[in-house]
Structures are given as C-alpha cells and as structure tokens.
C-alpha cells in the first residue's frame, strides 16, 4: 500500500469517526486495514479484572467520600461559627454604642454660687460622659452643662444684695462714725 499523506489520514480519521467523506480507493483500503488492525490488536489488549481489585477500589472510594463529607461538614460548621462570631461582634459593638441611661442629675436649680459649685458633678455623671460618644448625648450633656453653669452664675440683683449686706454688717460692727447710706 502506498504511503498516505497527512491530509489523506485526516479524511480517513473523519470517516472512522463516523463522518461522511468521499475517499479514493487507496483511502478506502486504508480504512478497512485500520479497522481490521484495531479489531485484531486491540482485542488482545483486553484484560480481566480480579474482583478483589474492584472491591478495594470501592472501599477507597467510600473512604474518599467519607473524608469529603467530613470536610464539607467542617467547612459548614466553620462558616456558621464565623457568622455567629461576626454577629456577636456586631451585637457587642452595637451594645457599646447604645446611649447609656444618664443618671439623674443632681438638683442644679439651687446650686450655691462659689467655688464649691464645681463639686456638684456626681462621679457617675462623669463616667457616663466618658462612656458615651454619641453626638446626641454629647449635645444633651452640653446643654445641661450650660444650664448648670447658668444656674451657678450669680445674677446682678444677687451681687447688689451681697454688697448691701456687707455694707450693713460693716455699719453694725464698725465704729459709730460710719455714715448710713442714703435711704437708710
């Protein structure tokens, strides 16, 4: 048989794969020869499989599937654990940012003026201030502080009354030459 060219082999391969191709006589002969060779040679390649081989392969397969299932379960568990952890972190964060109930302020309406006034801040109010960072809370505290300061500030009539009181005491405990202020 004349040696075939690569393009002829391509046509023959397509025919052997089941496609329709028009072939020359030599190509058709090659097709027949290859079919015969395959039937003859490849038939002898076949081999029997000992049953124990398949049962061992089955056991390995079962082992591999068991391991795979375990890995999947482990991954699933890890995912759930990670989600739960994340939820916990978010919840803790939210709790930390929750507005702390500010304890009742000490009565600020009747704070005596003077240096002792600064001590009217209760320690729990300070800690509340430290624990919260929310703007609303800060604004509220700021407003309350302003009110407190306003309350602590001595008003103008108070100052006048204080001055009069001092003058009156000077007059009572002083010498007799002191002059009464006009109107007294």
């Amino acid at each position: 048989m004349k040696a075939l060219q690569t393009n002829q082999y391509e046509r023959i391969a397509r025919v052997l794969d089941g496609c329709d191709e028009s072939l020359t006589d030599s190509e058709r002969a090659a097709v027949e020869e290859i079919r015969r060779l395959e039937a003859d040679v490849c038939g002898r390649l076949d081999t029997e499989v000992p049953p124990v081989v398949l049962s061992r392969a089955r056991a390995r397969l079962a082992g591999a599937l068991f391991r795979r299932r375990r890995i999947i379960r482990l991954r699933l568990f890890s995912g759930v654990a990670a989600a739960a952890g994340l939820l916990l972190v978010v919840a803790l964060g939210y709790w930390a940012r929750e507005p702390v109930s500010v304890p009742r302020m000490p009565a600020v309406t009747k704070v005596p003026a003077g240096p002792g006034a600064a001590q009217t801040w209760a320690p729990d109010v300070t800690s509340a201030l430290l624990r919260t960072d929310r703007n609303a809370d800060l604004l509220m505290l700021d407003r309350e502080m302003s009110e407190l300061e306003t309350g602590m500030m001595a008003s103008a009539p108070d100052v006048e009354l204080d001055a009069l009181e001092r003058e009156l005491q000077d007059l009572v405990v002083g010498d007799g030459t002191a002059v009464f202020p006009p109107g007294l």
Partner: protein
C-alpha cells in the same frame, strides 16, 4: 451506560451520592483497570492507580460540566495519573536489589515468600502477557498512549487529537503505524509459541 442514565448518574455523584459513584466505578472500573494495566504492565500498579483515580474523581467531578463526553474526560485524568507516576519513578528510582546482602549475609530475596502476588496468582499469570507488554513498550510513549486511549477510553480520533494537541492526520498516522508494529510483533510471538515443542 446510556447517555441519559450517565448524565443522571453524574449529576447524582456531583450531589454527593455514594451509590452514583459506585455505579460509575461499575461502568468504567474494568476499562480503567485494563488501561492502567496495559500502560504499566503491573497489576498492583494498575490497582493502585485505579484507587487513586477514584480519589481524583471525587475531587474533580464537580468541575465536569456535561458539555463534552464523559469518557474522554475520565480517561484524560487516567492518562495524567500515569504520566505523573512515570515522571515520579524517573525522578525517584526505588529499585532495590533482591540479591544485595545485609550485614548478616542474608539477601532480601531470601526473606520473600516463594510466590508473592498481591492480587491473584493464577489469574495474573494467565493474564500477564509479557510479550504484549513488551510489544507495547516498543512503541514510543505517545503512540502507545494514543492506542490505549483509543481502545480503553473509546475515544474518537478527533478527541485524541484534542487531547494530544496535534493534527487529526498525525494521530491516525501514529495509530496506523503503531498497530502495524504491534501486529508484526504479535505475529512473531504467535509463531514462536506455535513452534514450541509440546
């Protein structure tokens, strides 16, 4: 296995069904074992490779997308396993001389049982056609692989050309030459066997 049934079995296996995997092993186990045996010439290697292929199948079946035929996909994995093993053997030879003596003057061969066969002695000796193995080994690696995949993997020439990334004509030319060479060697062996005195 019919195409529809195969598709359903693969889908079940992809979903993790052990029964589906077993059905695949029943359908392809024999051919895969034959392929491994003819490629390596050793039953215990073939058995080991078949087990390894099952592990790969469990790992990789999820990637199979039903677009191509299943058999070429499966046998490509099998061919890769053989290539890996040959590469490993070449880089790490593990041959030990059975006649090498230890400090006590005992050879390793003396310690082995007289007949040691991991599978089944009688069956293996009946099957172990040394001549056929030698005939296959006389072919170049690619031609041998193509012929084995053509027979055991039932791959078309087009699929073989895609697998080996070479022209269709080249694949068939190799198969043609390889089969002729095998038949020549087998014919000689047959003559030799028939001429032997009884």
């Amino acid at each position: 296995m019919e195409a529809d049934r195969l598709r359903a079995t693969i889908a079940s296996a992809q979903a993790g069904s052990a029964e589906a995997y077993e059905r695949l092993l029943d359908a392809y186990g024999r051919r895969l074992y034959g392929y491994f045996f003819r490629a390596t010439g050793k039953h215990h290697d073939a058995e080991d490779l078949l087990g390894e292929l099952m592990l790969r199948l469990v790992r990789q079946l999820g990637k199979y997308d039903h677009r191509g035929r299943f058999e070429p996909w499966l046998f490509r994995i099998a061919a890769n396993l053989i290539r890996d093993r040959i590469r490993r053997r070449k880089s790490k030879p593990t041959a030990v001389s059975l006649s090498a003596e230890n400090d006590g003057g005992e050879a390793l061969g003396d310690k082995l049982p007289a007949s040691h066969d991991p599978v089944n002695g009688s069956l293996v000796s009946a099957e172990m056609s040394k001549e056929l193995h030698e005939a296959l080994q006389s072919l170049d690696d690619m031609t041998r692989e193509i012929i084995l995949l053509r027979f055991f993997g039932q791959m078309s020439f087009k699929e073989l050309a895609e697998t080996f990334q070479c022209p269709l004509g080249t694949v068939l030319a190799r198969v043609h030459r390889g089969l002729k060479a095998l038949r020549r060697i087998m014919a000689k062996d047959d003559e030799g066997t028939s001429n032997q005195p009884v």
